[in-house]
Structures are given as structure tokens and as C-alpha cells.
Subunit: 307 residues, 2 copies
């Protein structure tokens, strides 16, 4: 499948109906995953707070994992070394373990699983991996899903705006810095990772209001020297955050490129922002003449480390 086709499949992914029958008999949710699969937990942690969601992006699991824990292992390939290690530990500690994967070893060691379609880059399967968790713990109305489908479809048909942003980034010598805000802090991180993997450029993300407590001090000088290309998610409903975006620009004498999520629900806005970043990083890869699907270094690293 061509990379652009992978991107276009996101709208179908939001309709993925897999879910888990886990009841409500757990106190904590642990989501384990790395990279393009790990982002799923990060995004969900900001969407859901009825129970604590704890992220594992490493080999080890926290001590508290036990029978009262819903442990969700996410690995597109099913063969991610860190996630397999964490999942084995969770099984030993008798957590309620479920998995989201296209197969691999993870599908062998976990009974209850959502099997996602094969054949994509893991990071292009974000919708498939996120939806089973949303369907289980924070289900959306059918109309919201439909509206999101339509929104993403329009972006697939016309993404000149994203290509124009990619052109401006490519002309700039600054590294892309993406500023998010709750509940889209993880989406800013997603943009960063997409810039890394698709366009092979360094990028940095952080979130309002935390960034106002430290990195704002470095911004004016770096901006003046052209060291950064700042993208900020706008259209927040929180007037305190809107003020922060405005004042950070004024006081640091910087200009941010604002991305204004469309849609009325958090779900629509979430996928709008994700898709927007996917397209910007894709167009940037074309402008830079690099192959967005080439992640050979990551693959070599996996092989070298597991030797």
C-alpha cells in the first residue's frame, strides 16, 4: 500500500468496532506500548479519567499491577520486545490482560484481543489501535463517528493547507516545535514523532500551560535567530489557555502557526488534529525527498538490541 493510501484509511479506522467485554470490575488501567503503538495510551490518558490510566513505555510494569488492574497491551506488529516483556509480567501478576495487535507473539500469549488489519506502518494504524479502547471505556455516539468520518474525508480530498504549511517548514531553518493543550497534549507529541519518522527531521513538542513555566524563557532568542518553527493548536474552549497562547507570542515576540481544529466534539477535534499532522509530515517528506516509509534504522536497532 502506498503511504498516502495508509493516511487515507484513517477515516475507515474510526469506524472500527472491536471492543473488550471487561465489565467495570477494575480499579486501574495500564496501557503498554512503544512508539506508534504507545501513542495510543498517551492519547487515551487525556480522554478518560474515570479511573487512573498509567502508561508503560518500557520493559517493566509498576508494582501495583494486580487482579484489580485492566492491562491493555498495544503493539501493531505484536513483536515489540518491551511490550512483550511488560505483558508477560502483567500476566504473571494476574492482571486482566487484553491486547490490541495485528498478530505476532502478542496474539499468542494473550487470549482476549482485538485483531487489527495487517499491512500498514504501525503509526498509520493509530485509529485501529485507539478505537477498541475508546469503544470499551469511552464509547462515542454513532453520529459523532459519522461526522468525524466526513471531516477526515474532506481533509483527504483537499489538503492544500497542510502542504502549504509543509512548504513553510521546509523553507524555514527552524526545527518544528508543536505546542498542544489538554486534551491534545499527546497529539502534539504525535506530530513530533510523525516529523521524526515520516520526514526524518528533529522536532519537539510540549503543552500549555506547563511550557510557560520553563521553555518560554528560551523562546524569544531562539525564535529571533530562526531556530524554531512554532506550531500551536488553537481554538481551545478554555479562555485561560487561549490567553496563554496569545501572551506567549506577544511577550516572546514570536509568531505561531495556529492550527484550528474543526468539529464540535473532542473526538472530531482529536482526529482532525491527528490527520492534519499526518499530512503536514507526509508533505514535508515529499519536499525533502525522503521516503516516509523508511524506518530501516529503527528496524536495525531492534535487531541489534535483541541479539
Amino acid at each position: 500500500m502506498e503511504f498516502i493510501e495508509e493516511l487515507r484509511s484513517l477515516k475507515e479506522q474510526v469506524k472500527f468496532e472491536a471492543k473488550f467485554d471487561v465489565g467495570n470490575d477494575f480499579q486501574k488501567v495500564v496501557i503498554a506500548g512503544m512508539g506508534g503503538s504507545g501513542i495510543v495510551g498517551r492519547i487515551f490518558q487525556e480522554l478518560y479519567s474515570d479511573k487512573p490510566v498509567y502508561l508503560v513505555n518500557d520493559y517493566n510494569i509498576p508494582n501495583f499491577v494486580g487482579r484489580d488492574t485492566l492491562f491493555i497491551a498495544v503493539s501493531y506488529s505484536g513483536n515489540t520486545e518491551e511490550t512483550l516483556s511488560a505483558t508477560r509480567s502483567a500476566i504473571k501478576k494476574r492482571a486482566r490482560v487484553v491486547a490490541i495487535t495485528s498478530g505476532g507473539e502478542l496474539a499468542q500469549i494473550v487470549d482476549e484481543k482485538a485483531i487489527v488489519p495487517k499491512g500498514l506502518q504501525p503509526r498509520s494504524g493509530l485509529g485501529y489501535m485507539l478505537m477498541p479502547i475508546i469503544n470499551t471505556l469511552a464509547p462515542q455516539k454513532r453520529s459523532t463517528i459519522e461526522k468525524t468520518y466526513m471531516l477526515l474525508d474532506r481533509m483527504d480530498k483537499d489538503n492544500t493547507e497542510m502542504r502549504a504549511m509543509a512548504e513553510r517548514i521546509n523553507k524555514s531553518k527552524g526545527i518544528p516545535v508543536i505546542y498542544g493543550y489538554f486534551p491534545f497534549g499527546a497529539v502534539a507529541y504525535r506530530w513530533k514523532t510523525q516529523f521524526n519518522e515520516n520526514a526524518k527531521v528533529l522536532a519537539h513538542s510540549s503543552s500549555f500551560p506547563e511550557l510557560n513555566h520553563n521553555e518560554t524563557m528560551a523562546l524569544s532568542e531562539t525564535y529571533r535567530k530562526g531556530g524554531v518553527f512554532v506550531i500551536a493548536f488553537a481554538n481551545t474552549n478554555d479562555s485561560r489557555i487561549a490567553k496563554r497562547i496569545l501572551w506567549t507570542q506577544r511577550l516572546t515576540k514570536s509568531r505561531f502557526e495556529l492550527v484550528k481544529p474543526k468539529g464540535t466534539s473532542t473526538f472530531e477535534r482529536l482526529f482532525y488534529l491527528i490527520h492534519y499532522g499526518d499530512y503536514v509530515s507526509h508533505h514535508l517528506s515529499l519536499l525533502r525527498k525522503v521516503d516516509p516509509t523508511d524506518i530501516s534504522l529503527i528496524e536495525q536497532l531492534k535487531r541489534s538490541v535483541s541479539k
Copy 2:
């Protein structure tokens, strides 16, 4: 107090004996704080996993906060707008609320508190703010505290190594990128914030193994162009992480500056790494001829936003 004196006070801070009498009758720990106070929660989350530790770096608290939640509010000044907002919500929801502060409004609204000494930059009071949580939930042996005191004292007496690193950073045109690993991922973030606030330079942090799943793809080109100055914490006991550090350098053709924490316990190594970064950022501020205590932009921003 001179900034260098603030740094030198860290060894006294690890002896700070304040603690809370909270028993064991809670299921979740929420730690709220921003910037130099917020880092406390990030660090503690990696040290303790008997119960889920959830971080709040924003105005709002998660839905799950209730009577079974230990809510720890950390604000050096006691007047941080986001932390006050989150703490008021936690009080309303009848969480067990305690506070760590030098005074301010936070000291007025919370009954049970650890009062830390005034007169420091908030970020220089990290030890004072961290110890009450450690003393309460993960107490250390007296001998460990003593060894840490001695270790920090030696660093105060001789920090030529840290000055040399600051000189190399200053000569380089790259932005400092700090790679941590569990349980020192938050310390890498601490370095980043210290570079921002003390030396007024942009910086970026991330952690093994997560960084091997995305930003490694951007490293070789950025490194070759001199765009980054990479510092990695070394001396991990985990051979899988040690391999990753080695192979990431080899495959991306990059050279990392390794910081090897001294000490045998996690506690000693934690404070060694914190103090090392404090000195590097301090020396970098001198080389760049900027005032490490100047955070006027952050203060202006707070005033503008709260208008």
C-alpha cells in the same frame, strides 16, 4: 542569596525531614504542580509504583479523584494559578489533600502541609519539595541520605567536569538533547528545564527505549549537521538499555556525551544526576553571560494571564 549558593544548598535539602501522616488508606496518589514544582511529581512517579501516581500539570483534575485519593499539591510560591485551581477541585471532591509550599495562598487553603524554606528560586528548592513525599511514601535509610550528602558536597567542591561540559555545549551550535532512562527520565526533563531557565537555551529531552521508536530516525542527519549536542545518562544496571545507548550511537553515527551517575542506590544516583545538570546549566549561563535567576518573562506571563 547568590544562585551558586542556592545550588550548594541541595545537599542540606536531602536532609529535610518533613513528612505527612497519611497512613495507607488511599488507593491513588495525585501530585499537582507546574514547572520547577511540577518536576517533583514527575521524578517521584518513577521512584514509586506501589500505587498509581497520576500527575496534574494543568488547571483541572481527573474525574477519579475522591475520598480514596491522596492529593499532593506542590507549589514553591504557593500562588501558582493552575495548582491552586486543581487543589480547590480536589478539596471539593473530598480527597485527602496535603501541600508542599513555602506559603502563599496554598498554605491558606490546605490544613496539612510541609512548609519549605523561603528565599530560593522555586527550581532550586527541588530537594525540599521532593523529600516530604519520599519521607512519607518511600523513606530512605539514614546512611543513604548521608552518602548522598557527601556525594553532593564533593560536587560542590569540584565541578570542573560540569564546567567543561558547559564549555563544549557553548562551542557547539547544537541544541542540548538529553536522553534519560527509567527511573531517571524525569531527570532528563529537569536538565531540559534548567537549560531553558538558567541558560536561556532551547533544549529537548527524551528517554530510552521510547526514543528508539521515533526520533532516532531524525538523529543521524541532524547530528551530522551539528544541530544537536547529545547528552545521555549512562551506567544503567539494565543491560538492554546499555545496548540501546551503544547501538543508537553506532547506527546513527553520533557521539553522545555520557554522564555516569555515581553512588550505589537509586537515591544517590538520582541526586547526582540532578546536581550535575544544575551545574552544567549554571556554568552555561555564565559562559553565555545571562542571569540564571532572571525569569522575568515567566513572571510577566503569569501577570498577563491572570489579569
